[in-house]
């Protein structure tokens, strides 16, 4: 049931008709009114002409997950009228462009159909063909402003800021808002039974997508080298990194304190990153599932030759090419064990843009401290959608933790240097950088080597290094980000998730609590898991593992690597490409509890 500051609007449009700025105007208006909002874009894997949707959820309680229901549908795409109508909640409102009346098609008894002749009004008010198309979008924002009592001053101020340097556009936009608004006030029942009311939800929060935040994290962590091959949904991460760097990292003489290379493919991208990491730079590559598959061989090399590298896997729907513009958490297993042989990789799981920012920086520190590739697993929902997020903050005292690097001064005093000795007993050896000092020279190789760095085919020498790598792994478990745990008084069961499962779980936990079901909660932040995760597993007889893939990949890892027991861990899965809504978690938990009681 929608209520004031608690409703979802879904705008259906055609790809390539410029609705992005209208949609963001709508979202930003709610946000500036102090109402927590979430915006989600469901776009096709093409450039022009296919259906696309944008969903804005206002939630005074601050829930940012997909609501799973639509209270207002703005149906701007005749091709999807049927579907948009069907997916509207009972009692909801469907707004459409009545320039072409569709009484036949748009028939459903339990909803309200609102027609506004958007095209006609725009045709009458604008000369330019492109403007006529674009302004229809702005006009529906005007209509919504009337229906929901959006703050017109905020809308007009946002337009002024957006088009500060494009006066003619500003004027057109202001007119379009007025067209929609006035028409609605005149012809429709305004306001609706539920409206937007100014409040003070977001506080100092910002609106940002995860990829932009991750890119900023790379900048702040001091990454200087990025190589990538374009792939949705990771491309915007590198775009953002480049644009931040061109702003913050261009010297007065126009030289660049960064380097970004568009590689010929993902195999080359990871190769470049390893080359740069070997040579002492903080280097990274953003990619998505297919890229991870292609990087497998090199990932094993990075693990075994112990080279720092940071990867961002902004997950999309697989297997194979799958649905490149839909979201999923399907690469957990393949990232954890990427490459043949006994390999394993450190993973981080941000769940908010702020965590994207912070974990990006953490990833570089971990990669250098552990001398190994670290993969940050984001997803399309987090990476490309607009999220309301805690403000990003930075400690100016921060200095990169380069881990165990011997510099020229130290090497000068050494008799000999051996690359793979476990000097400190933590499984992490010392490394040196090329060009630094003759004593530091060593040979990096993916073939069998002993603890001195020499080539070996000797069984014992080989195993010695493999065993140390395993000790390093155990050490990693003690330094990666710890899970976030929230206990509930009287809870008998638990819930675990990672990444974008977080917002839906938070909401689901509240709902369940409201129905008398209290659950302890753990959001996993990293792999290897560490002691707290194991304890949480030990302490709960029954745990719901919420994740967005078919094969329960997180659950698998918990069983393999943290002592989880199959009987104990209940799968809560969602893998159709849409972000998981809280409702599906609630019903899964309730169904399981019923079954359990029945049994």
């Amino acid at each position: 049931m929608p209520a004031d500051n608690d409703f979802t609007i879904r705008i259906a449009n055609v790809n390539g008709t410029g609705s992005a700025s209208a949609n963001s105007l709508l979202m930003k208006t709610l946000f500036r009114m102090g109402i927590p909002v979430a915006g989600k874009n469901y776009f096709p894997s093409n450039i022009q002409g296919l259906p696309t949707w944008y969903e804005v959820r206002a939630s005074h309680r601050g829930y940012l997950a997909r609501s799973g229901s639509v209270d207002i549908a703005v149906a701007m795409n005749a091709e999807t009228y049927q579907r948009d109508l069907r997916e509207l909640t009972s009692g909801g409102y469907l707004l459409y462009d009545s320039t072409w009346p569709r009484r036949e098609v748009l028939r459903r008894e339990d909803v309200h159909i609102l027609g506004v002749p958007l095209a006609r009004m725009c045709n009458e008010n604008f000369d330019n063909a492109r403007a006529r198309i674009l302004m229809k979008n702005i006009a529906y924002v005007g209509v919504l402003a009337a229906l929901l009592e959006l703050d017109l001053d905020i809308i007009r101020e946002l337009l002024r800021q957006t088009f500060a340097r494009k006066k003619p556009l500003l004027e057109a936009n202001q007119i379009a808002i007025g067209l929609g608004y006035d028409y609605a006030r005149e012809h429709l029942h305004c306001p609706l039974p539920f409206t937007a009311r100014s409040m003070d939800g977001p506080g100092s929060q910002i609106i940002i997508d995860g990829n932009t935040a991750a890119a900023l994290g790379c900048v702040y962590a001091g990454a200087t080298f990025g190589a990538w091959y374009p792939i949705t949904p990771s491309t915007s991460l590198m775009d953002a990194f480049r644009s931040f760097c061109s702003r913050f990292r261009t010297a007065e003489d126009e030289t660049r304190n960064y380097c970004v290379i568009q590689a010929e493919d993902e195999l080359a991208a990871i190769g470049m990153v390893l080359g740069a990491g070997w040579n002492g730079a903080r280097a990274f590559t953003p990619t998505s599932g297919p890229g991870i598959s292609l990087m497998s061989e090199f990932l094993g090399y990075g693990y075994y030759a112990e080279i720092p590298a940071v990867l961002f896997d902004v997950q999309r729907v697989g297997p194979s090419t799958g649905m490149p513009t839909r979201t999923q958490q399907g690469d957990i297993l393949s990232c954890a064990y990427a490459s043949h042989g006994d390999t394993r990789h450190v993973l981080l799981f941000p769940s908010t843009p702020r965590e994207c920012f912070e974990m990006a920086a953490t990833a570089f520190d971990l990669a250098e401290r552990l001398q190994t590739p670290v993969i940050v697993l984001s997803d399309l929902d987090l990476g490309m959608n607009d999220w309301m997020s805690e403000e990003l903050t930075w400690d100016d005292e921060y200095r990169p933790d380069r881990g165990k690097v011997l510099r020229a001064e130290q090497l000068e005093d050494m008799e000999a240097f051996y690359r793979y000795l476990d000097v400190d007993g933590d499984g992490v050896p010392y490394r040196t950088l090329p060009g630094e000092h003759p004593t530091g020279a060593f040979f990096t190789r993916g073939s069998g080597h002993n603890m001195h760095g020499g080539y070996t085919e000797n069984a014992g020498e080989y195993q010695e290094v493999l065993d140390r790598l395993r000790r390093k792994w155990d050490h990693a478990a003690t330094i990666v980000p710890r899970p976030e745990i929230r206990t509930a008084p009287g809870a008998q069961a638990g819930m675990i998730t990672l990444g974008t499962g977080h917002s839906a779980c938070r909401e689901a936990l509240d709902t369940l609590a409201g129905r008398g079901v209290a659950l302890d909660y753990m959001k996993i932040n990293a792999f290897p898991f560490g002691a707290e995760v194991e304890t949480f597993l030990k302490d709960h007889k029954r745990i719901y593992v919420v994740e967005q893939n078919r094969d329960a990949q997180l659950r698998t890892l918990l069983i393999n690597e943290a002592g989880g027991r199959a009987e104990q861990l209940v799968e809560v899965l969602h893998y159709n490409g849409m972000p998981i809504p809280a409702t599906s978690i609630v019903s899964a938990v309730e169904a399981d509890m019923l079954r359990d009681r029945a049994a």
Binding site: A227, A263, G275, N279, E297, F298, L392, W394, G435, H437
Partner: protein, 351 residues
């Protein structure tokens, strides 16, 4: 094997270069290649070249893929860092390495399998990017390490040791390099050190990607009758298009040096190349002509050797990326982090 210690006492009688180092200081681990393998001769020539150019050993980066050829970096310059990567992917590793530290001298060593089959994509794109490195293909027409399969440089009609005839067309790395925009393309022969050493020195001094295809017979799998990459065939069918001399910066070129037509190419990094033509038709500075010439010689079953194409002055990857003097890897963090203030400003626009 590379970890076998060798006496490092330098013999007083050994010649010393500008750095006061002897040839010994440029040596590496003991070779584990077959006795007589062409690759080892190339190692020898390379040691001589870097010694004569007085490159500090620890300022070199040696990179390779996988193959007998790709083991070479372990056999010279023990005090350089080496990177023996995965099969066919050394160019990308070199690209990343060079991007963040342009001050080292990169030497990439690959094989015909490594560069022309699994690695041909990276090879082409590294040339397109013009990163600053010397790139050698130790070209024997076979996969040595996996025991003698034909490689992509095996000529049509040449035979394997057991008699099987290669029906596939060959890829000529030199033709491919010129077509891919490489600015320094040469071919040498492991059996001709006199020709090879100056080519190596010129390649090391060229700014940008210098590709040298070195015919390097595999004595174990491809040195028989019927092979077109054998010592004998190469000796008989090599067609040197000219002599190359590398002239260090301080040496003045005297007119009498030239026999035949001579052409001088000033190198960006200092020094110059003196090309003395043997084939008067040939102009190593004309890309189109070089392409046509090579394709013609190839058609005749001849192996054109020497400096086949050179174009000095093309912007290298460093310049194209507008990188500064200080290597990215050496930039202090203070110059990289915009600080908390900038972060706050930035977020003003995100509300």
């Amino acid at each position: 094997m590379s970890y076998i210690a060798r006496p490092k006492v330098s013999h007083p009688a050994l010649a010393r270069n500008e750095l006061g180092l002897t040839m010994r200081d440029y040596e590496g681990g003991m070779s584990t290649l077959c006795a007589g393998c062409g690759h080892d001769s190339i190692t020898g020539a390379l040691i001589q070249a870097v010694f004569e150019l007085s490159i500090p050993p620890h300022r070199m980066g040696k990179l390779s893929g996988i193959g007998c050829s790709s083991k070479t970096p372990a056999y010279f310059a023990a005090s350089s860092h080496g990177f023996n990567s995965v099969h066919g992917r050394m160019p990308s590793v070199s690209t990343g390495a060079a991007a963040v530290n342009g001050r080292l001298q990169y030497i990439g060593i690959s094989g015909d399998g490594d560069s022309l089959s699994i690695g041909v994509g990276q090879f082409v794109h590294a040339m397109r990017r013009n990163l600053n490195m010397l790139y050698l293909i130790e070209d024997n027409g076979v996969y040595g390490l996996t025991k003698g399969q034909f490689s992509a440089s095996a000529d049509t009609g040449s035979t394997a040791k057991r008699g099987e005839v290669n029906e596939q067309q060959a890829i000529d790395p030199c033709l491919l390099a010129i077509a891919s925009g490489c600015g320094f393309v040469a071919r040498g022969f492991s059996g001709d050190r006199t020709q090879l050493v100056p080519l190596l020195k010129a390649g090391l001094s060229h700014r940008g990607f210098a590709m040298i295809d070195v015919i390097s017979p595999c004595v174990t799998f491809n040195d028989h009758e019927g092979s077109t990459k054998s010592y004998r065939f190469t000796r008989e069918n090599a067609y040197p298009i000219g002599h190359t001399d590398f002239i260090p910066p301080e040496v003045e070129i005297k007119a009498e040096l030239g026999v035949g037509e001579a052409q001088q190419v000033q190198l960006h990094g200092g020094g110059s190349i003196l090309l003395r033509k043997l084939d008067h038709e040939y102009d190593a500075s004309d890309r189109s002509a070089a392409l046509a010439y090579l394709s013609r010689r190839q058609g005749n079953g001849e192996v054109a050797t020497g400096l086949l194409f050179v174009e000095e002055g093309g912007a290298d990857m460093h310049e194209l990326a507008r990188l500064g003097e200080t290597p990215l890897a050496d930039l202090p963090y203070e110059r990289l982090c915009p600080g908390s203030g900038a972060l706050a400003d930035l977020q003003d626009r995100l509300r």
